[in-house]
C-alpha cells in the first residue's frame, strides 16, 4: 500500500467523497445501459472496448489506478506521425489492443 499522504483518515475520506463517487459510478452504469438500448450505427467502437478493458483495473487490488488507466489509454509509439489530419483526440489509442 502507498504511504499515507492524505491528511484525512479512511472514515472521513469515505464521508467526504462517497456520495459523489457513487453518483459517478451510476453515471457509467447508465451510459452502458444507454448503449445497450441504442440501435443503428457501428456495432463496435474502440472507445467502448477500451473503457470496458480498463474498468477492471478499479478493483484489481493494486494502487496507482489513475496512472495505470491513463497509460492503458495512451498511444505508446515513439515516432512522430507523418501528418496531423485532425486537431482532435478521441480519448483512447485508436490503434490500441483493446
Amino acid at each position: 500500500m502507498p504511504s499515507p499522504t492524505c491528511p484525512l483518515d479512511v472514515g472521513k475520506t469515505v464521508d467526504l467523497y462517497f456520495m459523489e463517487h457513487r453518483a459517478k459510478l451510476l453515471d457509467i452504469a447508465a451510459f452502458l445501459d444507454r448503449l445497450d438500448r441504442s440501435s443503428g450505427g457501428p456495432a463496435d467502437d474502440v472507445r467502448i472496448r477500451a473503457l470496458k478493458q480498463v474498468i477492471p483495473l478499479l478493483i484489481d487490488g493494486q494502487g496507482n489506478r489513475t496512472q495505470r488507466i491513463l497509460e492503458r489509454l495512451s498511444d505508446h509509439t515513439s515516432e512522430p506521425i507523418p501528418a496531423a489530419h485532425t486537431k482532435a483526440a478521441i480519448g483512447v489509442d485508436p490503434h490500441g489492443d483493446y
Binding site: 489513475t66 489509454l73 495512451s74 505508446h76 509509439t77 512522430p80 496531423a84 485532425t86 483526440a89
Partner: protein
C-alpha cells in the same frame, strides 16, 4: 489568499471574470498564446493577437489590480502548415520587447506530427537565441504521454536548461517523468478532459509540492477561471494548512517566473505566510 493563475486565456474571458478573480484573491496572471478555437487566416491576425496580449490585456487586468504577463508563439494546433507557422514565428522577436512578455509559449505538440515537431524545435531555438523561458503545452488524452516525452527529448537535444521550462497539463502518467527530468510541472484544472481539483491535490500528495503549480487555463471552451481558488478549497477540505496553497499558487509561480527579468513579484506576496 493572494494567488497567481499562471495559465489563463483572458482574451476569451469577460471583464466580469477579471473582477471575480480579483475578488477571489488573484494578484497576477500569465497568458500563453494559443489557439482561438478556429484557424487564423493570416499571420497578420497573429500580429493583432500579440498586440492584444502585450497592450490590451495588461490594461484590462490592471483595472482590477491584477498584473498581466504573457508568452508568445505559434501554437501547436496551428503548426501543421510550416510555411504559415514560420511567418508567424518571424513576428515574435519584435513583440518580445514588450514589458510583460515572459518567454516563448505555449509551444509543444498536439497530434505529435512531424510538422508540429519541426515547428516546436524551431521555437525552442528561438527561445535560446533570445534567452527566453519556455512554457510547454502537452497534448491531451491519448496523445499526452507520447507528446510529453517527444517534447522533453527535443528540449534535451537542444541543451535547454529544464529549470527554465514549465511542462503544462501534466497528469498522473506524466508528472513523475517531468519532475524527474528537472522540469517544472503545471496541472490544468478543467471541468472536462483534464485534471479536477481533487486529482490535482492527489498528485501533490503523491509527488510533492516542489516545482509544480496549478492553473485554470480558462479559455473560450468549458473552463472555470476560479478553478485555482476552488482547488485551494479542496486542499483545505482535506485538512491541509494554508501554507500548501500559498506554496503551490504563490511561492512556486514567483520562483519560476522570477527567472524572467520582465516578472515583478506582486506586492501581496510579501505578506506574512501562515504556517500549516
Amino acid at each position: 489568499m493572494a494567488y497567481i493563475d499562471p495559465h489563463i486565456h483572458m482574451v476569451s474571458r469577460t471583464t466580469d471574470d477579471y473582477r471575480r478573480m480579483a475578488e477571489a484573491g488573484c494578484v497576477a496572471i500569465t497568458e500563453p498564446a494559443f489557439w482561438a478555437g478556429f484557424d487564423r487566416s493570416s499571420p497578420a491576425a497573429f500580429a493583432d493577437y500579440f498586440r492584444q496580449l502585450t497592450q490590451v490585456e495588461p490594461k484590462r487586468a490592471a483595472a482590477y489590480g491584477i498584473d498581466h504577463y504573457c508568452w508568445l508563439c505559434i501554437n501547436p494546433k496551428e503548426a501543421e502548415d510550416p510555411v504559415f507557422a514560420r511567418e508567424v514565428i518571424a513576428l515574435v522577436p519584435e513583440f518580445l520587447k514588450a514589458d510583460n512578455v515572459l518567454g516563448i509559449g505555449e509551444i509543444g505538440l498536439n497530434k505529435n506530427s512531424k510538422n508540429e515537431m519541426a515547428i516546436l524545435e524551431e521555437q525552442i531555438e528561438l527561445a535560446k537565441q533570445h534567452n527566453q523561458m519556455i512554457l510547454v503545452h502537452t497534448p491531451h488524452l491519448e496523445d499526452k504521454l507520447k507528446g510529453t516525452r517527444l517534447t522533453m527529448d527535443a528540449l534535451k537535444n537542444a541543451d535547454v536548461d529544464p529549470g527554465r521550462v514549465l511542462i503544462d497539463h501534466v497528469e498522473e502518467h506524466t508528472v513523475a517523468e517531468v519532475l524527474d527530468r528537472g522540469f517544472w510541472a503545471g496541472m490544468t484544472l478543467y471541468p472536462d478532459s483534464k485534471c479536477t481539483p481533487q486529482r490535482a491535490v492527489d498528485i501533490i500528495e503523491c509527488f510533492g509540492n516542489e516545482r509544480i503549480w496549478i492553473n485554470s487555463a480558462g479559455d473560450w471552451g468549458p473552463s472555470d477561471p476560479l478553478s485555482v481558488p476552488k482547488c485551494h478549497r479542496e486542499m483545505h477540505r482535506r485538512g491541509h494548512g494554508p501554507s500548501l496553497a500559498e506554496k503551490i499558487s504563490l511561492h512556486n509561480p514567483i520562483a519560476f517566473l522570477s527567472q524572467s527579468s520582465a516578472f515583478k513579484p506582486p506586492c501581496e506576496a510579501a505578506r506574512p505566510t501562515v504556517s500549516a
